[in-house]
């Protein structure tokens, strides 16, 4: 506890055991965080962003079809302004294309988004891939 008098604070000289317990738990937590990040810094080398995508669902919406997908970044560095292009295949060539830009896809993380097509994608091949990014 602290004693305040005329805006002077003096820490009590005989603290409760609870104060020490809290202090020690906090110290362990801070050391844990430091250890974790130091471990990350030393063990994991930096790998450039690497993308893959999975399609979650396809729904009919007003004026077209929505394809919801998730873009994973398997690299350890973050990519910014990731441009994603989706192509609806009609036979060998793409019959329709749509694109979207993600602000960030952090390293070892994912970001969700959706592409809107005019043609019905059900039963057809959809190719979604990242076509470019910048370093944050």
């Amino acid at each position: 506890m602290t004693i305040t008098s005329k805006s002077r604070h003096t820490e009590s000289s005989k603290p409760d055991w609870l104060e020490w317990a809290t202090g020690i738990v906090s110290a362990l937590l801070v050391l844990g965080i430091v250890g974790w990040i130091a471990g990350q810094a030393m063990l994991h080398q930096e790998t450039p962003p690497e993308f893959r995508s999975t399609i979650h669902s396809t729904q009919a919406v007003a004026g077209g079809f929505r394809v919801e997908f998730e873009l994973f970044n398997d690299g350890s560095t973050t990519a910014a302004a990731v441009e994603v292009r989706g192509e609806l295949m009609g036979g060998a060539a793409a019959s329709e294309a749509a694109q979207v830009t993600f602000d960030y896809v952090p390293g070892k993380s994912s970001a969700r988004g959706a592409l809107l097509f005019a043609e019905d994608p059900v039963g057809r091949d959809i190719r979604i891939r990242a076509v470019g990014y910048t370093e944050p």
């Binding site: 602290t2 008098s5 005329k6 604070h9 820490e11 801070v30 810094a41 994912s110 944050p136």
Partner: protein, 293 residues
Amino acid sequence: MTQQSGLSQGQVPPRSQASRQFLVGLGRGGAGALIFGLPMLMTMELWSLGFYIERYRLLLLLLINMPLLVVLARRIGFEQTSTWREAIRDATVAYAIAIAMSAAVLFLLGIIKLDVPATELLGKIAIQAVPASIGALLGRSQLGGHQDDGPTDEEGETESEVITSYGRELFMMAIGALFLSLNVAPTEEIILISYKMTPWHALATLALSILIMHAFVYAVAFRGAHQLSRGTPRWHAFVRFTLPGYVIALAISLYVLWTFGRLDDTASTQVLMAAIVLGFPGAIGAAAARLIL
């Protein structure tokens, strides 16, 4: 909200004076809400957060804010032996001032218009009202002068020694951290910085945050600085106050980042880095709260 600062217990002011003091109190609250709320009211990300923030996270933030304000009101009124009932009343009035002030400023700046949907309107105001309400409470106490409030208290000097429990001390740090975190967390810069940083940068930030936090309260002789009683080693305060304070600042950072949806689908290392980045202003806020409150 009555001004209790100058009144001894049991003394009832005349009616006209009481209502004047009430209005002065409202004015101070409004001033505080403006001083502490304007940086956020003029932050673009918060306007858009007003409509895309998930409603249950917004609700949780609003609910958490209430007990926080009550405890803060109780603490601020400590010199005037305020009761819990008075604290609840002060907190409610401060919240109301903050909501009115946020609505007025957002309307003035043309950010909300009457034809926008109600959910967007309410969302934008509600999210701004949280830091503004803390400002309104602080405005009442920190901007409040003691000269013009009727008869001055005679017993002030002898009874001004207040014992703050350890839990309350940590609570004050949490409020300080929350306030500063709320100010900077909505901006995109926080996550951008954490993406630009290497883990080594993060470690340096962590060390510096703890160091600054400790120095703020114990080494730099601000008004309201803390001192140790004689014979207590310096590291005692470091373990008992600074380290728990930093852990609280980190926890608040995580909570605020989660509230604003900055942590969704993000790897744990990135989450931790963002928390450390936001923990830097959070730690300074926590230290400042120990000096001011």
